[in-house]
Symmetry: C2
Subunit: 473 residues, 2 copies
Amino acid sequence: MNLPKRLALAAACAALCCSLLAPAAAQRRRGRAERVDLLVSGGTVVTMDAARRVIEDGAVAVRGGRVVAVGRRAELARRYAAAEVVDAAGRAVIPGLINGHTHIPMVLFRGLADDLDLNEWLTKYIFPAEAKNVTEEFVRVGTRLGLAEMIRGGTTTYCDMYYFEDAVAEETARAGVRGLLGETVIDFPVADNKTWAEAMRYTEGYLRKWRGHPLVTPAVAPHAPYTVSEEHLREVRKLSDSLNAAVVIHLSETRKEVEDISKQKGARPVEYLARIGFLGPRTVAAHTVHIDEGEIGLLKQHGVGSVHNPESNMKLASGVAPVPAMLRAGVALGLGTDGAASNNDLSMWEAMDAAAKLHKLSSNDPRVVPAEDALAMATIGGARALHMERDIGSLEPGKRADLVVVDLDELHQTPRYNIYSHLVYATKAGDVRTVVIEGRVVMRDRRLLTLDEALVKRQARDFRDRIARSLKQ
Amino acid sequence: MNLPKRLALAAACAALCCSLLAPAAAQRRRGRAERVDLLVSGGTVVTMDAARRVIEDGAVAVRGGRVVAVGRRAELARRYAAAEVVDAAGRAVIPGLINGHTHIPMVLFRGLADDLDLNEWLTKYIFPAEAKNVTEEFVRVGTRLGLAEMIRGGTTTYCDMYYFEDAVAEETARAGVRGLLGETVIDFPVADNKTWAEAMRYTEGYLRKWRGHPLVTPAVAPHAPYTVSEEHLREVRKLSDSLNAAVVIHLSETRKEVEDISKQKGARPVEYLARIGFLGPRTVAAHTVHIDEGEIGLLKQHGVGSVHNPESNMKLASGVAPVPAMLRAGVALGLGTDGAASNNDLSMWEAMDAAAKLHKLSSNDPRVVPAEDALAMATIGGARALHMERDIGSLEPGKRADLVVVDLDELHQTPRYNIYSHLVYATKAGDVRTVVIEGRVVMRDRRLLTLDEALVKRQARDFRDRIARSLKQ
């Protein structure tokens, strides 16, 4: 059975879940265990649910790609007979991390050009490197490399913006990773589409092709308010409405953007997008660095999700997003790494650590963005920001079974006092041991099961040589 | 032969080095290779010397604990016959990292108390935890844990400030790690000494005991200008002069310190220390966050080394040290992690990444603190800050053989373009493969050779339980 069919069957199973509960209870009364596909057993289960339950010696039962129960290990062991068991004793079990903003194929540009003036970085390196190298094959190779790195680091869902996004989606589905994947549209010719009309045709086809897929949620991603015209932004919103598709956009990343839009439109970027009817409950805005109180209110009012990228904002000297104020206002706020050309990795562990530390400094208050809030931004907050909180972001019955087993007793993690501090300030991507997405084990004991790591690296190195040569021409 | 004797012999061998050069040349003419103890062979040798030479397919030859040659692999293979070879092909060979400021036994408090108001953090957690738990045994167990973590992360030299520093020194020498180790003296009773007189007696004995040791450089560490009186600071300077010992101090870490000292002394902290004759070419000042242009000039003028701790300064909301201005002024500037109670790890890789990113943001200029400068702060800059640049900080003939072999081709490091970017922005502590200190391999292929990792962790966990209980009483 191929993957789409298996996943369709999984979804059907999940739908039957409620109706199965009564017979299951009867079964238990007769002393017979209910069958599940997977039991993640033992360890500290950090649910990130509304009550922020942390269950010591806990377990998570999974059937049909969804969580059916979260509780004490001893209880779940009595209730469920599992086809597959992942032993998590002495480890943490957390919701899969959500990387709210990246450009996955750009891992192939990791370290290509750093420490430069932004204009020089873009016009002398990134744009020429893209113009000369970005093909569908580049995108596939880069996506596989990025997926492998993300799985290794416990990221189970990511939000992407790039070109040839249909190829990104195919690679992502094949690797068993969840993605909100946005095809980038922009007012100048790019690698995959040379005109706006072409880009919109491609995007509509892409949105229709992937609608309802269990792992890939297709989206349209207008690059930014300063690179896509008002008319085109309105058109994007219309397309999003007609197909109920998410819209991902860069928003208020730099001071220059705010100045330019203010001059051109007589309004700050978020105000401008609100005025033209662009903002809505399917919008995901990356960065929102330079926004004022009024704009924070607009994000909240329109149900826009925001994604904070502390490391990219630091490295590119973009500025400090008003994270504490957004959290206070109740804006759905996630966390991202941004592309590896501006970070230079895809580790959500470093993103959490940076977010927690940056806002303490910036607020002059060490109590700001405590570890628990940082983990929330990387899990349930990210789910809300991507408008996927019904399905992911916490370990609760009924949600998709995306979870991560993390070592807790490495040298740099010794000793351990508080689980949130431990995860955010001491744990690294390399401590992730086992990763489950949609109930499927995609990494077990640090071995990738859906990607050939040696091949992924070899192909990436081949592209690196081509890219380096292309910039010398 | 025990370690001190072996090291004394090593020093003697090194002294003979020059006189051996002529016979060695003769030997070569006769086609016979010169004998060395260790050849680190192959890989990209990042020397961090004045010319910033990077040698592809390079090698480093080591004899008597010192570097005797750095060059091309093929050439060194012809010239030297090595008793031991470390294969570094496809990897980087860099100078050992220098952690310029920490409180090593505080790893036992890692994650004990985070995200708190500073006063609450100190008075409700750190001070009571220290008062109830810090014994010589605590210090030994914590030091071993910290040493293991530092070796794993490629740190070969560290500068410490804590109590029972003689025990820290013994553990450090035993593990084969290099340290500038400062006994903390302060104007109130602490774990090891109950009065100032007692503390000074202990310190003088400690300084005399370790003088001339090849690995341990003993120092006196008055806690800070606001916790040690003017009279006592003068006394410390006198002791330092009489024994030619380094002095380590916290300086201008917080706004409050600057306000308090300004009120009490009518001068900013660095000005005050200069006025009382405390500053000198053996002084190491940790933090120097809140210093003005005049104070930067005083640091330079008096030859004071400064150590920047970006992660601690962020997490405790201390502020942003004027790193670009200090670099411009030519202040000897190193990099540190601070104690694990305020970071929460001892990774110099994260310190480099944070330093590079923080100052871009803070200067609103992405060109500030480029990767090469960040690596310099963690190597040759740190050596200068600790006044040890004649011995460590770069890979050059005559210097102590402290070097680290680092993997370059892990997934999160793929692909590779620029070696400095690669090391600072993509490489993690977990990528460190082999560590050599004073010519001795202390970690080979990620296996610690001078510490029993399982025992170190077990003993740390035992202390953790005692510490947690003590805070509940």
